[in-house]
Symmetry: C2
Subunit: 349 residues, 2 copies
């Protein structure tokens, strides 16, 4: 017996491997080389019309679906962009995401969505995993991250846009609005209308630092102007409307001096208005109510809700546009964009 025969025995195909149609299968069936098939698919104009037709027909006939991983590995290019947000159950992030999705899909990219549930450790883990897909860029919410997340992203050497709030220090690029200023503007509005004991109602204030920034902005403004006081109410997390619904009654019982409430978002503020309606509490007579975000619903309750509108979809579009221009080698016009906000003074204050 030839002792080398064992090593000449053909190997078993790797276990569990799916026998999908491959580029070479198409090439063989069409009577061309694999590379020509690759070109017919990726840069059709570089292949003669005859071959192109034959190849496309074969692709159809065999139901060939290119393996993106092989392609991405060989070309060192992916068209999948990770987007990291704290939460999907908050409409605000969903609208930003829609802006991102529209923009990057139009440019032929896809979105890989990750949600951190407001946990910075999860954010770090997500960033690490997602970078393993060698993305052309990264979009993530917020300017506050763990040091190792920032290091990871800087080392990755890809464009990064941090969106949602606008601030002085960012990893690479930034688009959003100043939540501190938003809080101050709302405080100014409430003071101007004569309210003197102003409460801020939020949930998860430890993690939701943007809400905390709005509170800070409000607090500082009130302190600077003088003649009025503020108070912070933190509520356990729950569906916005339910939180607002319960908070209204509890707050008025706990601190009867309160004459205005600035809620962390419109959902909560709407819940408060609905509760006031049911219990016959006069808004703004007994207590003024204000929200944040400018959701359509805020205009429909009675009384219509005073709120601050943030251009959420616009934030998403701008973030994606900045990222894409950097991916394509043309630096964006600005590295940091303040999209601003609008105070909608309505009848609830």
């Amino acid at each position: 017996m030839d002792p080398s025969s064992a090593s000449l025995r053909p190997r078993e195909p790797r276990r569990g491997r799916r026998t999908a149609v491959t580029l070479s299968d198409v090439a063989a069936a069409a009577g061309v080389s694999p590379i020509t098939v690759s070109r017919a698919l990726n840069t059709p104009e570089t292949v003669s019309e005859v071959l192109r037709g034959r190849i496309n027909a074969t692709v159809e006939a065999l139901g060939y679906v290119p393996n993106r991983m092989a392609g991405a590995l060989a070309s060192a290019k992916t068209r999948v962009i990770p987007v990291i947000v704290p939460s999907l159950s908050n409409v605000v992030f969903v609208e930003v995401i829609e802006g991102i999705q529209e923009t990057i899909e139009a440019a032929g990219y896809q979105m890989l969505l990750g949600s951190t549930d407001y946990d910075l450790d999860r954010e770090a883990a997500l960033a690490s995993t997602l970078l393993g897909w060698a993305p052309p860029g990264v979009l993530l919410a917020g300017l506050r991250h763990l040091p190792r997340t920032a290091t990871l992203l800087k080392n990755a050497d890809v464009p990064v846009v941090e969106f949602m709030e606008y601030g002085a220090r960012c990893i690479d690029m930034n688009v959003g609005l100043s939540h501190v200023r938003a809080g101050a503007v709302m405080a100014a509005h409430l003071l101007e209308r004569g309210y003197r004991r102003i409460g801020f109602v939020g949930t998860r204030m430890r993690d939701d630092y943007r809400a905390r920034q709005r509170y800070e902005g409000m607090r500082r403004h009130i302190a600077e102007v003088g003649g009025a006081s503020d108070i912070l109410f933190e509520y356990p997390w729950g569906p916005g409307q339910e939180v607002g619904w319960h908070a209204l009654a509890d707050v008025l019982a706990a601190d009867p001096q309160v004459d205005a409430l600035f809620f962390a978002n419109d959902e909560m503020a709407v819940g408060a208005v609905l509760r006031a309606q049911r219990d016959g509490i006069a808004v703004p007579g007994r207590v003024a109510v204000a929200g944040f975000n400018g959701l359509p619903m805020s205009a429909l309750v009675t009384p219509a809700l005073t709120t601050i509108t943030s251009p959420r979809k616009e934030i998403g579009k701008q973030a994606a546009t900045m990222l894409l221009s950097r991916i394509n080698g043309t630096p964006p016009v600005q590295r940091r964009i303040d999209v601003g906000f609008v105070l909608e003074a309505r009848s609830s204050t």
Copy 2:
């Protein structure tokens, strides 16, 4: 001159390639073979404690991030599961997605989210692209797809769960509820309370066939029972509350006989209730209002809204669980699950 010298010249590195830290770099730095590094990372128990420690330290020191594409290509395994939904701006899908995310992340998988905007052509394109990432399974909303989408998914030879509605024919596995029955149940409720001219208000009824199924269920039930009539109102798409807000007044003007309205979802129904409040239209005295989904908000308006609660997060969890069990080789207990629904009869009807 040696004419062969040209071909001996070392090649340039491929253009654009990022010089990231690679598995071999770690191996060289740690003084072991690449495969040992791979094992230390993926199956730590198969590597001696000494080497494991040295390798982990080197990984840290070099900031190594494994290239998932190379890994996936070599092992023919990905841990990214595509999830295809019609829309992200509908809370309902977001809650299903949250259920999916929680479940698959706990099992070490990630979600690749695609939104079709209720367009079946986009769905087909998405399915094709996402299958190119050789996923271990696919989750998609709905039972209605283009023939080529179904073919694609069947040929891919991976487990597939269609979620949202429950029905007789599915590609592979199915979890959801019967929207036809939900419509019939609501019709029965409205008839029982004495309403005789029942309107259904929806948007995008051509694409949102689940809403259409609810209308069909309602219509047929009314026809079967007799003594009452139905009418369908279709409204241009927009934010739910705004649509309901406008619809209420328009419908009552267009068809004054209408004494009950079943809206395609709670947002619209809430909008209608808010409009009724503002304009002093008695609900349910002048017109009864019902919604669908059982959002928290439905219980907070005055009058509280009659609606049908669907277990959305549960649908996501079940869908993910079924998929995972098939991925792991253990067929799920059931291939089709009807999660049911609950009628919440409240004071708006």
